[in-house]
Symmetry: C2
Subunit: 303 residues, 2 copies
């Protein structure tokens, strides 16, 4: 599983920071958080392909987060795509998309499902679920958590062999939590062979937002938190007024939520280098990096 | 006066060819033809500035020609711009723009005038006029001609001196077409001193279109013709079906219209290099070049 930064900027694109979009690649499936202008080109540059794209989670209806949607839909329409695409987002996203489709006479040969949500469970399948909470921006904004399903516990092959369980169906039964009878007639408990379930990985996306407790709760224990860090502390008043966070505030959220690592995002175009932002965050939370366009972050499974 | 290619591609952007947009810079004023996704970033890259932007001429309501408008409007809204921006385009452009403004709650502190037109005079001031004709695409599409006002004829200072006219108000009178009396009482005719008016420069923009006589008439004598050349002749049937031209057809239009030079545009993403397109066009019309992103074409005044 890997997070790929497609657009680390915000408000206005620059030559080095495109408008917000973050890709999550997992087992051949691709998901996007936000889709600012230029996202389709960034996706091509990252060589992720368009085929694996399953769903897009939109945080809010500010232009810099959504204006890449129409172009991406049209480009997908130039391929032989048949499977549907799902777009999750706040109330209003459906009207935004449908009116562009109508006004530009866009007719696609694949289905676009637009699912409006206000909070809670966004999607659930056997591999992962997506949850959301309202963040704290100037308009209604969602933060998202992508949470993998638990993996079964570690199977102790050595111990199974010692206890006389032959490989095959009995292994599967033990893995599924059933106790079995070994070759010599002894009962072997699943819990003797199979460890506790291993938690899935978790990625949380929280742009654009002031520091808020709902995001801390959503992000608790996440492997990766992608958080708004538009300004340094020097501009805290401006960040607050515009519904954003400072790098220090992002780091405090990461610390409170005890996440694995923090990626600073929605970097203001005023910063030519992000060193100030990074230094500020590092003083609070050491596992911080600044999102840079095209950067990939591998997220290893929990052993 | 200079044409700057912001996006030489079409349909789908690539790493080297952005979606259609061409800038025209003249006397500190900037005008755009079309505004595909990514145009604001291309404009920044070209270092043309946003301040001089006066008007945008949109050819038609296909997504690859208009999806850069919302982002550009919002970015202009981040500056201290006070003067209005005018967007000319076919019927439907106003609804397209207004519905996005409404759905994304975009409130700008400068005015956006959207002027829908079907053909004829688009704009006229003392420096230039813009004319339009319907082109031949799969939906209603406009081709545009930017035509500078005539410049007064050349003033023959040597001859004026020989005829005894002193510099000053009499020079101005002669330049304005009035006959004057020289120092020794002789009548000096304006036509003896001032040559015939010199034609202004002319740039014609014709994307997306099949070859059509209306564009030939519009482009007659133009200094620069920017014309659709999506495919080579090998794909003429596809070009025709999709409402586009081949490079050869673009060159034939340039030849018929007796233009100064031809810029091939809306290059299909299928061509990694445009050599085939160029060779095909050059065999018909030698003053051809392929539009390449960020390329600038100077257009000298007529002497």
């Amino acid at each position: 599983m890997r997070v790929i930064v497609l657009g680390s900027g915000g408000t206005i694109p620059t030559q080095t920071r495109n408008l917000p979009s973050f890709a999550l690649k997992r087992d051949g499936e691709l998901l996007l958080f936000d889709c600012g202008e230029g996202t389709q080109l960034q996706l091509m540059g990252a060589k992720l392909g368009f085929g694996p794209l399953e769903r897009i989670c939109i945080s809010h209806l500010h232009g810099d987060h959504v204006t890449g949607i129409p172009g991406l839909l049209m480009t997908l329409g130039q391929s032989n795509r048949e499977k549907p695409l799902t777009i999750h987002g706040p109330p209003g996203i459906d009207t935004f998309i449908q009116s562009i489709m109508k006004n530009l006479s866009i007719h696609l040969h694949y289905q676009v499902h637009v699912a409006e949500i206000e909070k809670g469970l966004v999607h659930n399948n056997s591999h992962y679920r997506i949850e959301s909470v309202p963040a704290d921006h100037n308009i209604f904004t969602l933060a998202y958590a992508f949470i993998e399903a638990e993996r079964p516990g570690r199977f102790d092959v050595t111990k199974a062999r010692e206890l006389g369980v032959p490989p095959g169906p009995l292994y599967r039964a033990l893995q599924e939590g059933k106790d079995v009878r070994s070759g010599d007639g002894r009962i072997v408990r699943s819990s003797d062979i199979v460890g506790p379930p291993r938690p899935g990985r978790k990625v949380v996306y929280a742009l654009d937002t002031r520091p808020c407790s709902a995001v801390v709760e959503l992000a608790r224990g996440a492997d990766v938190l992608i958080h708004d860090a538009m300004f340094t502390e020097e501009l805290q008043a401006e960040a607050n007024e515009r519904g954003h966070s400072t790098a220090r505030q992002a780091a405090e959220i990461a610390q409170q939520a005890v996440v694995g690592q923090l990626i600073l995002a929605h970097i203001s175009p005023r910063y030519e280098t992000a060193k100030e932002l990074l230094d500020e965050a590092l003083s609070i939370f050491t596992e911080t990096r600044v999102g840079e366009d095209s950067m990939g972050v591998e997220i290893p499974v929990h052993k």
